[in-house]
């Protein structure tokens, strides 16, 4: 039997975003959980499942946030799947409830990346060649190599990448909780910004900030009895596309686009809809080029067409597919895949404020993890109100 619409998001708790040096990740997580419980009209006693992030951006100590919020959850899972994991957690929560392990699950991400640096990403990937020996550090080089290749193949311009940064910043300038709420940027700012890993500049990179979010998933039936309108989970998809750069020829496609087709097929198959039914999308945007490439992976544009699509304003309100409507990772705040999931839920609740997509009923949320050179994980989740 399909899981479509059997489960729903019933609570959202978000701390402030930015630099929060006087709170540990555990304290941030506890605050987010408390806010999510209040939002749903639940108490800690109602939660019997806890799924939280591990790996980079983490720092949560297993169960301390539970003790701080009165939750005694028999089911505690840690997940590490880089930027793809928020949607992985959705699938895990649904699976856990479906199998009778628990009834109501809280998903938690806490980041203290701005105040507690040092836990960042080291050299990654490549079996034999050891990237650190060649000076390859951080995920920015992956994005830069992808952008370089994409520019070469399809004539992508810096102005087109910049139009992604500007579109998202305009959204964030309308969202008071966004890290970049009061910082406007122009195309000149983008073109003159310092290069970080060329061809990508400062505004092609996501933010580094502190903050936490907690989301509660429960049965649709229970969600309907709670304070907020349920946001139903129509479907989700997960694909670890384990293609390494040494493999020829298909693996090299990772350098001009992420492979998300299998994840999309799974999610849209469960939901029983097509990409044309999507009213608003929240793409994983650790880098401008990641967002751009997914427009093609999810079939919104043809190969090589995404740059012109974005430049024409199609991601803005009133465009063909309003997307990343809070300003997301590039301008709102980086909570890994939770940035996009949180905004997707808010859009389906009609809580988007000035960034609300009018009459939006169905939302696509995506995640990405891994590196282009050693395979990547594409995940997505389809929500409806």
């Amino acid at each position: 039997m399909s899981i479509r619409d059997k489960y729903a998001f019933a609570g959202v708790g978000l701390t402030r975003l930015g630099k929060i040096p006087d709170m540990t990740p555990d304290e941030l997580a506890a605050q987010a959980i408390t806010l999510a419980l209040e939002d749903a009209g639940l108490s800690g006693k109602d939660i019997d499942g806890y799924i939280y992030q591990g790996g980079i951006g983490g720092g949560l100590s297993d169960t301390l946030p539970l003790h701080m919020t009165g939750i005694n959850a028999p089911m505690v899972w840690q997940v590490a799947s880089l930027g793809s994991y928020a949607n992985v957690m959705v699938a895990m929560a649904v699976g856990a409830i479906e199998s009778g392990l628990c009834n109501s699950v809280v998903l938690v991400h806490a980041a203290s990346a701005a105040s507690r640096r040092g836990g960042g990403m080291g050299p990654m990937g490549m079996g034999a060649s050891t990237p650190g020996a060649y000076g390859w550090y951080g995920p920015g080089a992956t994005a830069a190599c992808m952008a370089q290749r994409y520019m070469h193949l399809y004539g992508l311009t810096r102005e087109q990448l910049g139009s992604i940064s500007l579109t998202l910043r305009e959204y964030a300038n309308k969202r008071p909780e966004a890290v970049m709420y009061d910082k406007e940027i122009t195309m000149d700012d983008y073109l003159n910004a310092r290069m970080v890993v060329e061809p990508l500049c400062l505004y092609d990179f996501c933010l580094v900030n502190d903050g936490a979010v907690a989301l509660i998933i429960t049965s649709a039936e229970k969600a309907r009895s709670l304070k907020k309108p349920p946001v139903y989970i129509m479907g989700y998809g997960i694909d670890h596309s384990l293609r390494v750069a040494g493999q020829s020829p298909e693996a090299i496609h990772h350098f001009d686009g992420f492979v998300a087709e299998k994840a999309a097929e799974q999610a849209f198959g469960t939901a029983g809809i097509t990409i044309k039914d999507i009213d608003v999308a929240e793409f994983y945007d650790a880098f401008t080029i990641f967002l751009l490439s997914q427009l093609e992976s999810y079939g919104i544009c043809g190969k090589g067409e995404a740059g012109a699509f974005v430049e024409a304003g199609n991601l803005k309100l009133g465009g063909q597919l309003p997307a990343n409507t809070s300003g997301t990772a590039l301008s709102w705040g980086y909570l890994m895949g939770f940035t996009q999931l949180t905004e997707g839920i808010r859009q389906m609740r009609g809580e988007g404020g000035e960034c609300q997509v009018k009459d939006a009923e169905i939302c696509l949320v995506t995640g990405l993890g891994g590196m282009v050179d050693n395979g990547s994980a594409a995940t997505c989740c389809i929500l409806r109100r």
Binding site: M126, G132, G138, G140, C145, V197, Q247
Partner: protein
């Protein structure tokens, strides 16, 4: 302050033949003895799904596939090298390898540039394959 050294390759049981070959100034890749498909990673052949792999010497010639230029330091040992390139070279035999392009200005690197391997003996024990432009 102690000097912060650049990271050396992590030489393991599975990749040791690669680094031993580099020491001899040979470039080797991992190849399937069944179908002949070549890989830069230590892996199982995706065509045959068989671990019938062997190290194969290649020409060391190829083309720049993609690259990036670090304008900001991500690791203190590399701060003095800014700006530097990290490049993927597609070997004439097929596999992609991560490397640096040397004997070339960063602004002169382009996708499709013909290159050949040079062996950089960075210590008594370790030799890094890098690539330089060739006409």
């Amino acid at each position: 302050m102690p000097e912060i050294k650049k990271q050396l390759p992590a030489i393991t049981e599975s990749n040791r033949p690669f680094w031993e070959a580099a020491k001899r100034h040979d470039l080797v890749v991992y190849g399937c003895s069944g179908c002949g498909t070549l890989y830069s990673h230590v892996t199982v052949c995706v065509n045959c799904n068989q671990p019938r792999m062997e190290w194969v010497k290649v020409s060391g010639k190829g083309q720049v596939f993609t690259f990036c230029i670090y304008r900001q330091s991500f690791h203190p040992a590399w701060a003095g090298d800014i700006p530097y390139n990290v490049t993927y070279v597609k070997l004439d035999e097929g596999p992609l390898v991560m490397t640096n392009i040397v004997d070339c200005k960063n602004e002169d690197i382009y996708i499709g540039m013909p290159v050949a391997v040079v062996f950089d003996d960075i210590s008594d024990k370790v030799t890094l394959p890098r690539f330089k432009p060739v006409s």
